[in-house]
């Protein structure tokens, strides 16, 4: 069952169009990857879904046309966006960051349980649960950002450049946690990544963007089989 569908989606910054008609589908339990080099439009695609940039074309989520919806409305429909740069609320404590993630929920007891769940998933966070989020390291902030998204009990998580600025081992830890999340929770995901190796450890199928348009698409195996992919992104 298709959960998210993009049809001919365009997006602009000011008068410059940076996405020229992107289309793809994400099923209910899928993990979908968006790959490509810097500036290809990967982050912009996620922003278009969340309504953070002026968008053209059509974006459908669970049957509803959400094109141009405000970010908080998109979130209310069940899409959790972990932005590039993590969007950590630095002045708030780790616990408060998690509570913000659960803002739209009303089941207080379940929220408390979910906080424990996140702290189990990321033990580093448990150690720092009372500190201000700005005191956390890059990797910890990434884990916090992902936890914040989980707290919303979303149907779809948009993950933007989770490995950015992280040491390779930290990035691998983060992706290991994402994998665990996938297998335990079964949440659908759209993963934007420059590092194709990390992305492929989690996603089933993906597209590759190049200057705002799709240059390649296919399942994980199909893409891994292509020479260009191997050469360009896997140091093939």
């Amino acid at each position: 069952m298709t959960l998210l569908e993009l049809e001919g989606v365009t997006a602009s910054y000011g008068h410059a169009e940076v996405l020229h008609g992107i289309s793809f589908q994400v099923g209910e339990n899928d993990a979908f990857g968006i790959l490509g080099a810097n500036g290809a439009g990967k982050t912009t695609t996620l922003r278009a879904i969340s309504g953070m940039v002026p968008t053209g074309g059509r974006i459908t989520f669970d049957g509803t046309d959400i094109t141009g919806f405000r970010p908080d409305r998109v979130a209310a429909l069940g899409i959790a966006h972990v932005p590039e740069g993590r969007g950590t609320l630095g002045d708030l404590s780790v616990r408060d960051n998690l509570r913000v993630g659960a803002y739209l929920r009303t089941d207080r007891k379940a929220v408390a349980e979910d906080i424990e769940l996140c702290l189990d998933l990321f033990p580093n966070l448990r150690e720092r649960v009372g500190s201000n989020a700005s005191a956390l390291s890059g990797g910890e902030q990434q884990m916090l950002a992902i936890s914040r998204a989980i707290m919303a009990r979303p149907r779809l998580i948009l993950l933007d450049e989770a490995s950015l600025g992280l040491a390779p081992s930290t990035a691998q830890n983060v992706y290991r946690a994402i994998k665990r999340l996938r297998s335990e929770q079964g949440v659908a995901m759209v993963v934007v990544e420059q590092n194709a190796m990390l992305a492929f450890s989690v996603v089933d199928h993906a597209i590759v963007l190049e200057t705002g348009s799709t240059s390649l698409a296919g399942t994980r195996d199909e893409l891994l089989g292509l020479d260009e992919v191997r050469r360009a992104y896997l140091g093939g």
């Binding site: 365009t10 602009s12 910054y13 000011g14 940076v18 810097n38 500036g39 290809a40 439009g41 990967k42 982050t43 912009t44 922003r47 309504g51 953070m52 940039v53 002026p54 968008t55 053209g56 094109t67 141009g68 919806f69 405000r70 970010p71 590039e84």
Partner: protein, 370 residues
């Protein structure tokens, strides 16, 4: 609009324009009433004061809410030196007073700036507010110098004997004041167009960039503020010349605020805009008062807000703004508009008043690129 720019670029047109303006300035007082000359003189006074404000606020980007304190200080210095019982020959009294009205306020401004320029923007504004607030009771206190709360009336700047029969007092005062104003404007123009002006602009734009270019923001802020204070002091001299009276009220912080408003409305960071601002400052309150006194403040506030929203560059940018809006309307009628997320949270990284134009397109764009 392009014909206008083509015209203004032509050297002969500019010379002709200058001649016309000069002729008007010279002839005006001879054919106008005392009251009109008074108003024109006041416009010159506040043009110089607002010019100083523009240099520190418009060009160098430092909020100053204390310009009235320097105006008042200049007026008091002039009042004191013109009448004081000092062993100075009469012919020299005037030029010495003018010089002191430039130097002493500049020195005060320098001291204040040295202390305050290191502070973050708004703390600096606070220090400048403190100037009128502290200045007024000080003026009331030092009665021997200032005449206390009642102020001092000084009858001076009379038309000299050699103009007997040709010029009246008010006309002479007008000429003196206008000549001083022209000199100050010339000074300002050279400052702003030269290296200092460019340095100010960079400091206003982005201090980190300034530092990277070897320009010390602190030094230039201090310089800008000192210059502004000097202009304020000179304007004070001119003020006493036209009004023949000064009191603690001259330092009022409302005057400072109204000058800032006038500067913005006329056009900040613009020499021509300063003149529009001065015209606004002098004429509008008196016009509004004639209509309905209690409407004056309402009117002024509404106009200032309207300018900030619709014509952020001030009156002086009106032609450019009209052209901009006409262009955009024409474009809208052509291309199909993309879907904008309505009513979004405000985005970061908008640095100009011009950004309100962008924000008018219903949707705020995040300027960070992937």
């Amino acid at each position: 609009m392009s014909t206008l720019t083509k015209l203004s670029a032509n050297l002969w047109v500019r010379i002709a324009f200058g001649v016309v303006v000069a002729a008007v300035l010279i002839v005006a007082p001879l054919i106008s009433s005392k009251f009109v000359n008074y108003q024109l003189g006041l416009i010159a006074v506040f043009a110089v004061a607002i010019l100083g404000l523009n240099i520190v606020m418009g060009y160098a980007g430092q909020v100053s809410l204390g310009q009235s304190a320097f105006l008042g200080l200049g007026a008091y210095i002039a009042a004191y030196f013109v009448t004081a019982d000092l062993p100075i020959p009469d012919e020299l009294r005037l030029p010495i007073s003018l010089l002191l009205c430039a130097i002493i306020p500049a020195a005060v401004g320098l001291v204040v700036a040295l202390a305050a320029a290191r502070l973050r923007g708004l703390a600096l504004a606070m220090v400048t507010i403190a100037l009128p607030i502290i200045g007024i009771p000080l003026a009331k206190r030092f009665r021997e110098f200032t005449g206390g709360a009642q102020g001092t009336t000084v009858s001076w700047l009379r038309a000299p004997d050699w103009t007997e029969g040709i010029l009246e007092n008010d006309q002479w005062r007008y000429y003196v004041v206008v000549v001083i104003a022209l000199l100050m404007f010339l000074l300002a123009r050279n400052l702003v167009r030269g290296r200092m002006g460019r340095a100010f602009r960079i400091v206003k734009e982005n201090e980190a960039v300034a530092v990277a270019m070897g320009i010390s923001p602190y030094r230039y802020k201090v310089m800008a503020f000192t210059i502004a204070s000097m202009f304020g002091g000179v304007a004070g001299f001119m003020y006493l010349g036209i009004v023949q009276y000064t009191s603690p009220e001259t330092l009022s912080f409302h005057t400072s605020i109204n000058m800032v408003a006038a500067m913005v409305i006329g056009g900040s960071a613009s020499i021509l805009g300063t003149i529009f601002g001065a015209i606004y400052f002098v004429l509008v309150p008196s016009l509004a008062n004639e209509v309905n006194p209690s409407l004056t403040a309402l009117f002024s506030g509404a106009i200032l807000l309207a300018v900030l929203f619709l014509v952020p560059g001030g009156v002086v940018s009106l032609p450019r703004r009209i052209a901009q809006v006409t262009r955009r309307l024409a474009r809208r009628r052509g291309a199909p508009a993309p879907q904008y997320p309505s009513d979004q949270a405000p985005a970061p990284a908008t640095t100009r008043p011009e950004s309100t134009e962008k924000n008018e397109e219903r949707g705020k764009v995040n300027d960070e690129l992937p």
